[in-house]
């Protein structure tokens, strides 16, 4: 539990660090890390249980299936967003000819 929680923190902090960089590609990586951090956070907050939620009788030792469903949805959405963001920075960098965020606003 502690290790997973700490890795959520590491993912979030490195994601934010990368977002603050000037390079376009690093912002993409930052977005990816933040997304994974959020997914892992949901996973941890649902509780780390080892028993799979199958069968007819449930007690506290079974994993909650709802966070897993939430993460599945969030991963799919994250994939779509990452793909879109990649295309956006590709077009942006090919139009400005550089990987620098500050170049985007130059008119």
């Amino acid at each position: 539990m502690l290790i997973v929680s700490l890795s959520v923190g590491v993912l979030f902090s490195s994601g934010v660090y990368l977002l603050l960089q000037k390079s376009l590609l690093r912002t993409l990586l930052g977005i990816l890390l933040l997304g994974n951090g959020a997914n892992l956070l949901i996973f941890v907050s649902g509780g780390l249980k080892t028993k799979a939620p199958f069968g007819k009788v449930f007690d506290q030792s079974f994993a909650d299936p709802v966070p897993q469903a939430l993460i599945l949805t969030a991963i799919v959405i994250g994939l779509g967003i990452a793909a879109f963001f990649l295309v956006l920075i590709l077009r942006a960098s090919s139009s400005t000819g550089s990987d620098d965020v500050a170049e985007l606003d130059r008119e």
């Binding site: 376009l24 959020a38 949901i42 907050s45 966070p67 939430l70 956006l88 942006a92 985007l104």
Partner: protein, 445 residues
């Protein structure tokens, strides 16, 4: 029935994607779809509350769609916005896939208005953002990527904040439905509620989270920026109001929103004075209006005046963006009397000049603000009204009294769509008593 405002636009958009060549078919179908959404929203209003438990999963386990008064009003406004935007787009050269994307935008906004499930709300936000990302970034010129980039990045950050908030909240209360969460919410869950509220504040472009809005709106085509101005920030405001009015009252959070909202009003107006680009100026004004309505909410709670002002904001801001699109296209001078008249009506309504609709909303909200002894904010709200008026007079001075440059041809479709919104503004003003009664009924049921 209640899922139809969500499903229908998506199905029609799918058909559009299969037949990308038939522009004429797309234009008429997009219009009809918006009309149906409008009619559906109005028909929901006749019942006090319509509920759909999706897939037969009962409350509180499944996703529950609820069309109560507030969400029905918002859905019918989405329909109206769709109708007007489609008509306006007939007179504009648009990129491919404009219609499927804008229908997806309308459908997802309807989803965000109708759902009562926090995670489902996140999904609708994402769908809406994806549609708006693509609408914005396919329309930008070569040097416009900065705005699109800021828009995408800040909204993604807000989505992750929202997602983390939902995850933490589910972890501690084990519920996702608004009212179910509210019944189990304890004082130790406040952090996640703050995270969610901050995400909504980014989406409704409240200072200090507003940077994406003035950077991006004016980059898109006129139709797209009017759609954005009418819908995007309103979804954030609606969700914030919805969630916070269901949850037990959190005075600290409401106080923070009130402070941010007051600063928003000021920053929006001051920022607008520094702008030369017309739509960018209006975008700053959107920020100040958002601040005003959220100030009203944070001091007086969900009142009929707030609902009324929200309706008024959607109509008037969209109309101003449409008029700005006409002005920008035709250079500095507008010869058409109708456009001038519509501008005057919308500008006065926005600034809150009696007898236009903004006056009634502003009067009631400012009265509430003073009643709850937010005196400084109330005074600033009055000053903001004056500032808006001065801004509008400045626009009038530059664009309507400027020098004539050549012959002006404005597409009649665009004039028609501006006229429709002007008529709606005027009827909001004339029948304000009835509309306010409706708003009171809306929040009572």
């Amino acid at each position: 029935m209640i899922a139809l405002p969500i499903i229908l636009p998506f199905m029609v958009a799918a058909i559009f994607l299969i037949f990308p060549e038939c522009q004429r078919l797309q234009k008429s179908l997009a219009f009809i779809t918006s009309l149906v959404i409008y009619a559906l929203g109005l028909s929901f209003l006749s019942d006090s509350k319509t509920v759909l438990e999706v897939g037969g999963w009962e409350w509180p386990f499944g996703i529950v769609l609820v069309a109560d008064g507030f969400s029905s009003v918002m859905v019918s406004l989405v329909g109206l916005v769709g109708i007007v935007a489609t008509l306006y787009s007939y007179g504009e050269e648009l990129r491919d896939r404009h219609y499927p994307l804008s229908l997806i935008l309308l459908g997802s906004v309807n989803g965000a208005f109708l759902t009562t499930d926090l995670f489902n709300l996140y999904v609708w936000f994402e769908v809406m953002l994806m549609a708006s990302f693509v609408l914005l970034s396919t329309n930008v010129s070569k040097d416009g990527f900065g705005g699109a980039f800021k828009y995408v990045l800040l909204n993604l950050v807000s989505s992750f904040m929202f997602l983390s908030g939902v995850g933490l909240l589910y972890g501690s209360v084990g519920a996702l439905n608004f009212s179910h969460i509210a019944s189990r919410l304890g004082s130790e869950d406040l952090l996640s509620v703050y995270l969610i509220a901050a995400a909504f504040m980014i989406k409704s472009a409240l200072v200090p989270f507003y940077f994406w809005l003035p950077a991006s709106y004016h980059r898109a085509s006129a139709t797209v920026s009017a759609l954005f101005a009418a819908l995007l920030t309103k979804v954030g405001i609606y969700s914030l109001i919805r969630v916070l009015s269901v949850f037990p009252e959190i005075p600290e959070l409401l106080f923070a929103i009130g402070v941010f909202a007051t600063i928003s009003m000021l920053v929006g107006i001051i920022g607008a004075f520094g702008q030369v680009n017309l739509r960018r100026l209006l975008a700053f004004d959107v920020v100040s209006q958002v601040g005003f309505v959220l100030l009203g909410f944070s001091t007086g709670g969900l009142s009929s005046a707030v609902v009324f002002y929200l309706i008024h904001m959607i109509v008037v801001e969209m109309n101003l963006f449409l008029i700005a699109g006409v002005i920008e296209k035709r250079g500095n001078f507008i010869g058409s009397g109708i456009i001038g008249f519509s501008f005057i009506v919308s500008a006065c309504a926005l600034a809150g000049v009696p007898p236009f609709s903004g006056f009634f909303g502003k009067f009631l909200i400012i009265a509430e603000i003073f009643e709850n002894s937010w005196v400084l904010s109330g005074v600033l709200a009055l000053i903001m009204g004056l500032g808006t008026l001065v801004l509008m007079a400045r626009i009038w001075d530059i664009y309507f009294w400027g020098e004539k440059k050549g012959e002006i041809v404005i597409s009649s479709w665009q004039i028609i769509s501006v006229i429709i919104l002007t008529i709606v503004t005027l009827s909001l003003s004339i029948f304000s008593a009835q509309v306010l009664e409706l708003c009171q009924w809306v929040i009572d049921v």
